[in-house]
């Protein structure tokens, strides 16, 4: 078993690393959603409700993506050592299910980023025309590409709005959030460029590193918040 696990890590491909990255993302998303949910429970703030819904969707989306990248590859490498005799049957199912899972995950991510962008209101529309221009980035090749593209636009919009908030208040946690969201967007963009090359290209490594930095940046301001266990209030007026 140790040899199998060791081989699994030695022959780990970038998909597995990316899958691990998405699992880290889902953990961070879960932390944020727990704090936001407690906040909504205590204050009944619509802003915190939107954050909760957004991060529920993002957590599920990241988890499904990470799971889809890691789990089939783990089983595939395991089956190469003839531990089970279901290799061919499994491969057939996994190819079909991987696409489906990735589309479901992308849908969750799209919804999450949409609610997050919605939560910012329309600050940038009053101050700049750059955010609406971001919608021009949309390129569509397949269902997954469409969903990923729209997610990317919402992510750009969210990071742009966060930048505006930072410029207004000059508070460091907002800067971390901006850097986090913009790094995730940059990582996704670099990943698209990396699709022109097969295997583990330098662009793919850069994409993974930039996304990792993005998740770390997102987690930095959140890590200082402990999950607050206050009394549930009902002050909706």
């Amino acid at each position: 078993m140790i040899i199998v696990l060791g081989s699994y890590f030695v022959f780990a491909e970038y998909k597995i690393i990316e899958g691990l990255l998405y699992l880290i993302g889902s953990f961070i998303g879960y932390r944020i959603l727990r704090i936001a949910r407690e906040g909504y429970r205590n204050t009944r703030s619509p802003t915190l409700l939107r954050l909760t819904i957004s991060f529920i969707a993002l957590t599920i989306g990241f988890f499904i993506t990470g799971f889809t990248y890691i789990f089939p590859r783990f089983l595939y490498l395991t089956f190469q050592y003839d531990i089970l005799q279901l290799r061919l049957e499994f491969l057939g199912i996994s190819i079909a299910l991987t696409s489906l899972f990735l589309i479901i995950a992308a849908s969750f991510e799209l919804f999450g980023y949409f609610v997050l962008a919605l939560g910012h209101g329309i600050k940038s529309y009053r101050k700049s025309l750059l955010a609406p221009a971001a919608f021009g980035f949309l390129t569509t090749i397949s269902v997954l590409s469409i969903l990923k593209s729209i997610s990317f636009v919402f992510l750009l919009y969210g990071s742009f709005e966060t930048l505006i908030s930072y410029l207004e208040s000059k508070k460091r946690p907002i800067l971390f959030m901006f850097l986090g969201f913009s790094s995730l967007a940059a990582g996704e963009f670099i990943r698209w460029m990396a699709l022109f090359y097969s295997g583990l290209s330098p662009l793919m490594i850069a994409s993974i590193l930039v996304k990792l930095i993005g998740f770390i940046m997102l987690y930095t301001p959140v890590s200082s918040f402990n999950t607050y266990k206050g009394e549930e209030n009902n002050v909706g007026i």
Binding site: G39, R44, I174, M177
Partner: protein, 95 residues
């Protein structure tokens, strides 16, 4: 340009007014709440009624005057509001 206040912010402003203006445990009258929280009379009475119903403030009668004091639940609410306002702000949002 005037800054838009959300309902949650208005509630927090009312509670803060009562908390800050509660001199010697005698509570705060509605006129002072209106002034401090910058609300109309109609809006203030509606909000205060809801806050009393939800147990965040308590109504006391002193010398035939209706006055309001913050309850323990109200203090807890203000504390959590402050914490989560910081949390929402780190996303560039307001409560």
């Amino acid at each position: 340009m005037s800054v838009y206040r959300t309902q949650v912010k208005i509630v927090a402003d009312v509670l803060t007014s009562i908390n800050d203006g509660n001199e010697g445990e005698s509570g705060l009258g509605i006129t002072r709440i209106i002034q401090k929280a910058n609300l109309s009379y109609a809006r203030a009475t509606k909000i205060i009624t809801r806050l009393v119903d939800s147990g965040l403030i308590e109504q006391v009668t002193i010398d035939n005057n209706q006055r309001y004091i913050l309850s323990h639940k109200g203090i807890e609410y203000l504390r959590s509001h402050s914490d989560f306002a910081d949390f929402a702000e780190s996303f560039g949002m307001k409560l």
